[in-house]
Symmetry: C2
């Protein structure tokens, strides 16, 4: 029996003994994180699938629910497991609650569905609660996953005002003002990046996300931080961080005590109205709060931190710019190395390239890790927008066609995320056309000027219309928010067709990454991070535009010049010139000369 | 005392005698119509304001609430009345309920607010009900408006299957299927264009809108039409229509009996669940239905007719195309005449031009009237997007600058809506630039190719970005739906930044009308109607595009060629050629030769 089929059978025997009709295995952690630490990779453990998704197991069915981004990957990774793929974000999608309803149509009381309430959002379970007999089993995977990793306890560092612009005292008093304005006495925070932002702390508890596994309760008098570092860690940096936080009035408490302390709020006269964010609070803790709701009014709303965090201040913007100069120099060194290896015919693979790129980033002072797993994909592999480069047996790079590399770094002064599609040699006409049309879309969005109040979903079409015009498209969003030395994906803004009303505000940093994917053939994506800045005011109102932060040339060798307007060519030439002017002083003679050649105007 | 100030004082004396703290005078009619018949022009009667808006009167304040489209017009028309302008659709707007709350902050029970419940949407009053003591006075304006016009009773005609594609039996059985699918037994319709569509009837009860003032109740067995033609009209066409409708099972009842009959539904065992549309049902009738809701479940939802009506069938599309050929020939005759008058220096005014245009339309067989009041605006007057050309004293057209004419016809085979901005002679550089950039936006939207599922708010930016790029903009939507020999404005689709999720579907007809308005100087708008059509399918999905229905050349003399791309020029040349090829056979030698000159490629 397949390893994963065996694990599912173990789960089924537990189900039978406990009388559960179905189990939902969430792909998330107690903090609604997009990336999770190894402890919460229960979906991967059960199925081998490494993307984002949830699993439902019944006595005669095991299914994985995942979205468009992962269809090809799921097909491959689920092969032989007996787990069926359920596609989401498609017109005829059947989501988990609907599927369960149709699977158990005739039961009188509704079937018994077991979940790990810690790993499910309150809003998701709320929708189940009405139809099913939901059993909340905290840490449910423990029942079958014997060598499940422990929760992470990486070192904690603090960042000063000179690094992030706002001190934690300043942020806490800003948050208390927000609470007062909305008539609340307290807020309970669960999103790890919001906690890290508010406390000016960083950790490494989640791969690629410099966050600390924790909860935070902020009242008018107290700041209680529930963290897995209590009793105090033996790591000296973490100890120093704790001293600093205590001096600033942050009480460090045990992560596992949070439930008890939340229940005790019922007896706390100073807390009458508690702000909770249904988009991140987990079901288990929500139930705790609901059980004391006679004494504590719960006010549901998006946490005010998400928006505040997305609008970078001047210090953060300066840091992000510095990060992009350093990261740009890394990218140019990498691309130079790549071209050299190919000309030397040294037989490098996708994996070798990814390793080289990480090692070049690691040479930068202040580098703390990559901001996500590098996608290093050659030829047909690049047709998977979220390709995972295998450690062994990855594809050999050859001097033809397109190589796609999507990567980024976490530096103490900023976060980067860049994709370049690199022609490794002669390209087909279709490769060149796609390369050019995606770049045209990238440039058209980058050149946009728009009035105050415009949301990303209004601008998304600018990146797509050049592709749409020849009936091509891509199945992912055009842009996501990026944190300051924080998560590489953050809200609340984005650039995609969904009807997200959040306007783009000056100081927001978003990606501009159209692409095209041809299964079995190749993929193209061009990605810069762009900063929203003011473009002045006039009789018609206030105007905004984008400023590219990313600094790395776009290869002009695969461009079909006739597909670009003069204005688009001007943008490209001026961007490439700026890349050369900014980076060449950092690159040494040989690479500089090479870059000068690469950035020759078209 | 100003005439309008006097009327407001009369209203105030009624208010004092009845103990009302405030009166809301709605600008609409009992059917949520955009255009209303003279009986419901109470806002104009009270204030002189002819746009869309509502008035609130208290003992010490009279205010008009209206949106961006009407600010300049309201400023002019309210001058001297003492009525204050309250701007809506602006960031800091204070809507009527908020304003009333701040005006009467301390009252214990809430102030008494009188309304005409027939002319207010149920959803609007619902929001008032919670805070104020609302008094519903049906036909409230009667109290002060002595010579108030009666409700209209224009002749009624019917349209056959060969004219509209679907017979009324077909439509009624389609509607009953929709009711069954949503578990309803009946639907109560109030929107006049929905009733006209369903019954294949047309009237002239509202200026420019070929509708019949009526309500409609459709159950599984009956179709009850409450109309002001009972006892039967003496008009022979109307009598024939009534015979035809009765033969098809439509019972003609008295408009004024609708309230009683709705109340009687409580005793009708065949009607258990009634579908109502909160976006059009008036408060007065809603209250009637609510009073019997113990015996009748009200199911709230958008009427299914709105979407069905917006997706034109093949017969309707063929009719609309024919209408645009006829209307295009009218427009070309008009533009030729206009140029000739200017060259003869015959001293024509905006009003003369508008009259000429209507008279040319009236020559078309099947013409039933204009589809809205022609906007004939020269120079600074064109800076008002909804300029009303005065009968006397309108501006003289001179052989320089820009003249804007926005007009349309109602034909029994279709409805048109077209705007052309006409250079009457030499133009300034700014006029030319604006003329060209607006045209560029018009063309970019017209050329769009987009995947199935795309909504108008995704495409809106295509018409704006050419303007935005030089920090110019316009304050109205880019496009509205257009009915088939019905209202020139209809939903549910539109093309504007609001987050309307309705996708554009094949068969929908929408306007493409970007503009620019420079107060005190000039205005530009270029408008065609565009039909959404399939553009085929491929690996990336199903594709749609637009086909322009409107046929009338765009004047090339004011174009700055450097501002258009080759692709945009190609579109324009090919469009103008199509106009010439299609219309010249209808135009006679002299106008044809002139049009050939006008449509010479650039």
């Amino acid at each position: 029996m397949d390893q994963f089929a065996g694990r599912i059978e173990s789960l089924r025997s537990i189900m039978r003994s406990r009388g559960w009709d179905a189990v939902i295995i969430s792909g998330s952690d107690p903090h609604s994180s997009e990336y999770v630490s190894p402890r919460w990779r229960q979906v991967e453990w059960l199925s081998g699938f490494t993307g984002e998704g949830d699993i439902v197991v019944t006595d005669d069915h095991a299914g994985l629910w995942t979205d468009t981004r992962y269809f090809i990957q799921a097909d491959r990774q689920l092969a032989g497991t007996g787990i069926e793929l359920h596609k989401t974000c498609v017109p005829d999608q059947v989501l988990i609650p609907q599927w369960l309803s149709s699977r158990f149509p005739s039961s009188e009381e509704g079937p018994t569905v077991a979940i790990d309430g810690l790993c499910e959002k309150m809003s998701f379970v709320d929708s189940l609660d009405r139809k099913f007999n939901v059993v909340d089993v905290p840490n449910l995977p423990d029942l079958v996953w014997e060598d499940r990793p422990a929760a992470p306890q990486s070192p904690i560092i603090t960042l000063g005002e000179e690094q992030v612009g706002w001190s934690r005292e300043h942020k806490i008093s800003w948050l208390r003002k927000k609470l007062m304005q909305s008539g609340c006495d307290a807020i309970f925070l669960t999103a790890l990046d919001e906690i890290a932002w508010l406390l000016n702390v960083r950790g490494a508890d989640v791969e690629y996300n410099p966050v600390v596994l924790s909860y935070l309760l902020v009242t008018m008098d107290d700041v209680d931080w529930y963290v897995r570092k209590f009793p105090p860690s033996r790591d000296p940096e973490t100890q120093d961080s704790f001293y600093e936080l205590k001096a600033d009035g942050v009480a460090v408490k045990d992560y596992d005590d949070v439930g008890l302390d939340l229940a005790a709020l019922a007896d706390d006269d100073s807390v009458g109205r508690l702000w909770i964010d249904p988009s991140t609070l987990n079901y288990n803790l929500y139930k705790v709060l609901e059980s004391v709701s006679a004494d504590l009014e719960l006010v549901r709303g998006r946490s005010p931190i998400a928006l505040r965090k997305a609008v970078k201040n001047e210090v953060e913007i300066a840091g992000m710019k510095e990060a992009h100069v350093e990261d740009g120099a890394v990218m140019e060194r990498f691309l130079w190395w790549l071209e050299r290896q190919l000309s030397l015919d040294s037989g490098i693979t996708e994996y070798d390239a990814a390793r080289k790129l990480s090692s070049l980033r690691a040479e930068v002072e202040g580098y703390r890790g990559d901001s996500f797993q590098t996608i290093s994909a050659y030829g047909p592999n690049a047709a998977l927008p979220h390709y995972v480069t295998p450690v062994s047996g990855s594809a050999l790079l050859e001097p033809r066609g397109l190589y796609l590399v999507d990567s980024g770094g976490q530096y103490v002064f900023g976060t980067t995320d860049i994709t370049r599609t690199v022609p490794l040699g002669p390209c087909t006409d279709l490769e060149k056309e796609d390369y050019t049309l995606v770049l045209k879309g990238h440039i058209d969005l980058a050149m946009a000027v728009f009035p105050k109040g415009t949301a990303g979903c209004h601008l998304d079409v600018l990146a797509r219309e050049p592709l749409w015009h020849s009936k091509r498209n891509f199945g992912h969003g055009t842009g996501h928010g990026v944190g300051f030395y924080l998560n590489v994906h953050e809200g609340p803004q984005d650039i995609r067709p969904s009807f997200n009303r959040q306007p783009l505000l000056p100081g927001m940093i978003t990606s501009d990454e159209p692409g095209i994917y041809r299964e079995g053939r190749f993929g193209v994506r061009h990605e810069n991070l762009i900063l929203t800045v003011s473009a002045g005011e006039n009789d018609f109102g206030s105007w905004l535009r984008f400023e590219p932060l990313t600094l790395c040339h776009f290869d002009t060798s695969a461009i079909v010049p006739g597909l670009l307007s003069q204005e688009e060519k001007d943008w490209l030439n001026s961007y490439n010139k700026r890349v050369f002017d900014t980076l060449s002083p950092l690159l040494g003679k040989e690479i500089s000369a090479w870059l000068q050649e690469k950035t020759r105007p078209i």
